[in-house]
Amino acid sequence: MIALSKQAGVMPSPFDAEQQRRFDEGFEKAVAKYPPDRRRSALLAVLHLAQDELGWLPEPAMAYVGFRLDVPPVRVREVVTFYTMYRLHPVGRHHIGVCNSVSCWAMGSESILRHCEERLGIRPGQVTKDGQFSLEEVACLASCGTAPAALHNNFTYVENVTPESVDALIARLRTEPGQTMAPGPHPRHLEDKHAIEKQSQPQATGTVGQAAATTVPTDKR
């Protein structure tokens, strides 16, 4: 594995000059956090850096990251497919994650998700035709006291969400450029890495601020 870089010779970079400069700067910092003989440990951080520049992790980016850290391609792929924040496909320039965990659910996150779906015309895992928005269900964000919660572009919290605040957010985001997104195949359904076959969506709680429904849902979509 030590000879990996030598065998591979020169690996073409997926970045342009400006991206490369930012990536290299971050790369040095990320590697410096670990003892010199443990630089491979920085893999997660370096993948974040690559995704910051490209919006997702195309094959050449994964290869390049592996090359820079002397990590075998299979281990890079293993990590990228294991962690949910790394993307194997382009998402929208504004990627919205709606929390579906228990506290948010109790406070009506299902109606928030449905509202997002209606406003954007997409289901979780899809990207709008213009590539501007994508939607995803995410797990507990540690924002349970300010439920329901959502996440914009992986790192920005949106809390105490209501249908009205969703509308305001979407209207605001339409005027903003959002994250860089390298071109790539826009699948109609993005890969949900750990998707389990859902026979139906449990829908027990009502809308935000209202009582939960206790009956069996008739809406099976």
């Binding site: 956090k33 893999l43 850290l69 790394y86 027990a204 939960a212 429904a213 849902p217």
Partner: protein, 419 residues
């Protein structure tokens, strides 16, 4: 009402509570020079006396864990902080990192000195990168500038470097050995134990490692300043100090409330959270994150300390308390909880990988009105068969709610199924 003891959240209402100036104005960064004049073992002894229990979920006595690490003769040793807060219902570590990061950093420096550790990592979950982790990094930078971190801290000859590392979205990385794997740049598969992280061969880079929760370490400055005995007296026997209860659900005042260890769920609800929202009746309590066994409204007077709840076959867990009102259908709640575990099972052990997905499918079927009575029985039985059969506790954390929801709220399930 007696004056509330606030060890951790005293500054939170102040403007810019996260700043160095605010923390110093309320007596911050004074425990460290005191600690550096003590012998490391004396600090650990105070922690043992304080009955400080790990606030991440398992409630392991911190002093005992530190003594394990101190006994090891292999160097370097590491202290790794678990800031991968992801248990549904839990948001108190994020509050500490965002509102009083300096208190946590000071506690961590004291902890590292006590363990003879010169390089420490704080593993934050990926979603914290631009908020909580950024604020922590700012506090660390300030601490370096003040000479509280780096070389020869306060002229004691003690050196320490502190690094913040970011995860990438995996609940399992809150499990300590999965966290270490992730910190080493791999997928988060929990490690088989023994060797335990505290022992040589089991920790970070195979070195002896203490893995502690953010809240646990934030208590250190108070323990050093006021002594272990004082801290122990705040709580109940064997459970020292206060706890940050992260309360969510159908209450009037959700949020992080600091209360003494062992506060009952009724006091927490009525005195801290302003009662149930809309005067609804309480139906169920999730006492310590979604992995803990659920409690009924009749059990609201149970004290919330680790030992009592363990004896009652549930757990104090991460301190994430969710109060659910009478309109909540517990079958749907369990289906939601189980979707989470099915999604987050890392896939290493078969009983967990298959079991959680199976339970989730069965519960979705029940909630869609296509279930039979046998399905409910099957959920209970599968859950029992998942327990104690896997490398880490995720399967147990999924089985506990599955069993308890059915045992305590069977009516909600039976109303949905045929036969």
């Amino acid at each position: 009402m007696a004056e509330r003891v606030k060890i951790l959240s005293g500054d939170w209402d102040k403007p810019e509570s996260w700043s160095l100036a605010t923390y110093k104005a309320s007596g911050g960064w004074q425990a460290l020079p005191k600690a550096l004049k003590m012998q490391p073992q004396q600090i650990v002894d105070q922690v043992v006396k304080s009955n400080l229990r790990g606030r991440g979920g398992a409630g392991f006595p911190t002093g005992m864990k530190w003594n394990f690490v101190r006994k090891e003769t292999s160097f370097p040793k590491y202290l790794v902080v678990n800031a991968d807060e992801g248990e549904p219902g839990t948001f108190k570590d994020r509050a500490i990192l965002e509102k009083s990061p300096h208190m946590f950093v000071e506690g961590l420096v004291i902890g590292c000195y006590a363990l003879d550790c010169h390089l420490t990592y704080v593993y934050c979950r990926g979603e914290f990168r631009k908020a909580a982790a950024a604020r922590l990094q700012q506090a660390i930078d300030e601490a370096y500038a003040q000479g509280y971190l780096g070389k020869n801290i306060f002229g004691s000859g003690f050196d320490l470097d502190m690094q913040v590392v970011i995860g990438a979205g995996a609940y399992i990385c809150g499990e300590e050995t999965a966290l270490l794997e992730s910190l080493e740049g791999r997928k988060g598969y929990p490690r088989l134990k023994p060797p335990f992280p505290a022992n040589a061969g089991g920790g970070l880079f195979k070195q002896p490692t203490a893995v502690n929760n953010v809240e646990t370490l934030a208590n250190l400055p108070a323990i050093v300043e006021k002594g272990g005995d004082w801290f122990a007296n705040v709580g109940v026997p064997k459970n020292g100090g206060t706890r940050l209860y992260a309360v969510s659900g159908h209450v009037n005042v959700p949020g992080v409330h600091e209360a003494p260890m062992g506060t009952t769920f009724r006091v927490l609800l009525d005195e801290y959270c302003g009662g149930m929202r809309g005067n609804k009746k309480l139906k169920a309590i999730i006492p310590g994150g979604s992995s803990s066994a659920v409690m009924t409204a009749e059990e609201v007077d149970w004290p919330s300390d680790f030992d009592t709840l363990k004896a009652k076959k549930t757990m104090a867990g991460s301190g994430g308390v969710v109060y659910l009102d009478e309109d909540t259908n517990m079958a749907f709640a369990l289906a939601n909880v189980m979707r989470f575990y099915a999604h987050e099972s890392c896939g290493q052990c078969t009983p967990c990988r298959e079991g959680t997905a199976w339970l989730s499918r069965l519960l979705d079927k029940i909630c869609a009105g296509r279930g039979e009575k046998l399905d409910v029985d099957n959920v209970h039985q599968i859950a029992r068969q998942m327990e104690m059969k896997t490398i880490c506790a995720l399967a147990d954390g999924a089985a506990m709610p599955a069993k308890s929801y059915i045992e305590k709220f069977r009516g909600d399930f039976d109303a949905l199924v045929r036969g």
